[in-house]
């Protein structure tokens, strides 16, 4: 099986094709030049891209011919009575059958029931009663994480900077804040509010859906009750709790990987290296897992910039703001530079797409 890494960058989408060993990689010419590709996935043979342009706005585009031609989804826009204007498209997540979800700024969600041809605003999130207490993160108020419970499609989660995590148990018709135990240190009068947390990345474990992981502005967290309660995972090897991306292991719910940064005031990878940290005990302890990654290095990996495949052993993939893509074919034990000299990388996803 050969995989393709879909790399969204500030200057278009790059597809990087690998051999079966996941060690030899070839970069193809960029597609969608001129677009900030915030997120790109491939699902059931179709590529979906959240692409933004500073002049022409936010789009979600799809290709059924491996990137030769693209069509924009229709209906992306917010109702006039909301008083909001669509800013940027952030994240595409497949649902069941022909359903797709799109997270966007400002803190909004869209749903398509026709494989991305047309989109509708999810009114329930617009009407969320806590919305007036949300605030934008540094990149805007983005709905960047959308996760569907693999055992129950009616249960889903969104992560919004800086509003927090919200859970729905009715397929997106209504939402409940799920932020108990996650800190908002930038709100010193109430560091554990109901909403307003700056969650950076949220993932549900595919084999243990009651377990959620979160990389937050204020630490790394794990929940074992579908987001009802969160435990902060600090120290024990992590140089900092601040960071953006997160990856899991497809079969082992105790394994996670993060890329810590110095802090909110200096957003470069900690300790002067491109350091990936891995836990194999549910977050109690973390080890540097960076053999083959550059040092010294002062890099940054965006929240959408790291992902994992479902093979055995599982591969991990990350892309940096300095334009390099690194692949670990063995769960973080060693890393290979698959590409360099790309534009700043915004997202990395891996798929069978050929």
């Amino acid at each position: 099986m050969s995989l393709a890494i879909l790399v969204g960058t500030r200057k278009g989408l790059f597809v990087i094709r690998g051999d079966e060993g996941r060690r030899k990689w070839t970069v193809e010419e960029p597609v969608l030049p001129g677009w900030d590709v915030f997120h790109a996935i491939a699902h059931d043979g179709t590529a979906y891209v959240a692409a933004n342009n500073f002049v022409y706005g936010a789009t979600v585009q799809r290709s059924t011919d491996f990137g030769k031609t693209w069509e924009r989804g229709e209906g992306l826009g917010l109702p006039e009575e909301s008083g909001l204007t669509l800013e940027k498209a952030w994240h595409v997540e497949p649902g069941s059958d022909d359903t797709l979800w799109l997270g966007a700024a400002p803190g909004v969600l869209f749903r398509s029931e026709d494989k991305g041809e047309s989109w509708e605003t999810v009114q329930s999130l617009l009407d969320e009663p806590t919305r007036e207490r949300w605030q934008p993160g540094a990149g805007g108020m983005c709905t960047h994480s959308i996760q569907i419970d693999p055992e129950n499609e009616q249960t889903m989660y969104v992560g919004i900077s800086a509003a927090g995590v919200f859970r729905s148990e009715d397929g997106g018709d209504s939402w409940t804040p799920a932020n108990k135990g996650t800190a908002a240190d930038f709100m010193p009068d109430d560091p554990f509010p109901e909403v307003g947390q700056c969650v950076h990345k949220l993932l549900v474990h595919p084999a243990k859906p009651e377990r959620l992981w979160q990389q937050n502005h204020c630490g790394v967290y794990r929940s074992d009750d579908r987001g009802e309660n969160w435990d902060r995972l600090e120290g024990n090897g992590l140089p900092n709790g601040f960071g953006f991306p997160l990856a899991l292991h497809p079969r082992d719910p105790d394994v996670a990987l993060v890329v810590p940064e110095d802090g909110a005031e200096n957003r470069v990878t900690s300790d002067g290296r491109l350091g990936v940290y891995k836990t194999t005990d549910g977050g109690k302890s973390w080890q540097l897992s960076s053999k083959g990654l550059p040092e010294p290095a002062w890099g940054a990996v965006m929240r959408e910039g790291m992902s994992y495949d479902r093979l055995d052993p599982s591969g991990v993939y990350l892309g940096t703001q300095s334009g390099s893509v690194f692949v670990s074919p063995n769960e973080g034990e060693e890393w290979i530079e698959a590409a360099s000299q790309l534009p700043p990388i915004l997202s990395v996803e891996v798929a069978e797409w050929h």
């Binding site: 022409y56 924009r72 992306l76």
Partner: protein, 86 residues
Amino acid sequence: MAVTVLLPGLLADQAGGQKEFELDAPTVGAALRALPVRDLLFDEQDELRPLVNVYIDGTDARHRGGLEAELRGGETVRVVAAVAGG
């Protein structure tokens, strides 16, 4: 009232590769709204996006009535991204 509308490269790519459009339209706004890239030119409130500049025979459309500027036929309407965007 046939006019020629010219698009910059990125919009032409989004219009299936077509850079030049011959259209019948009474106003600049009607001409732009007839394009397959209407959604990239206008936001959800149907307002022209702020960094989109439009020229009628080389003159900024803003000096000729903006989107309401009437077209007699034969004009070239050119869409240009504003430099101010970066």
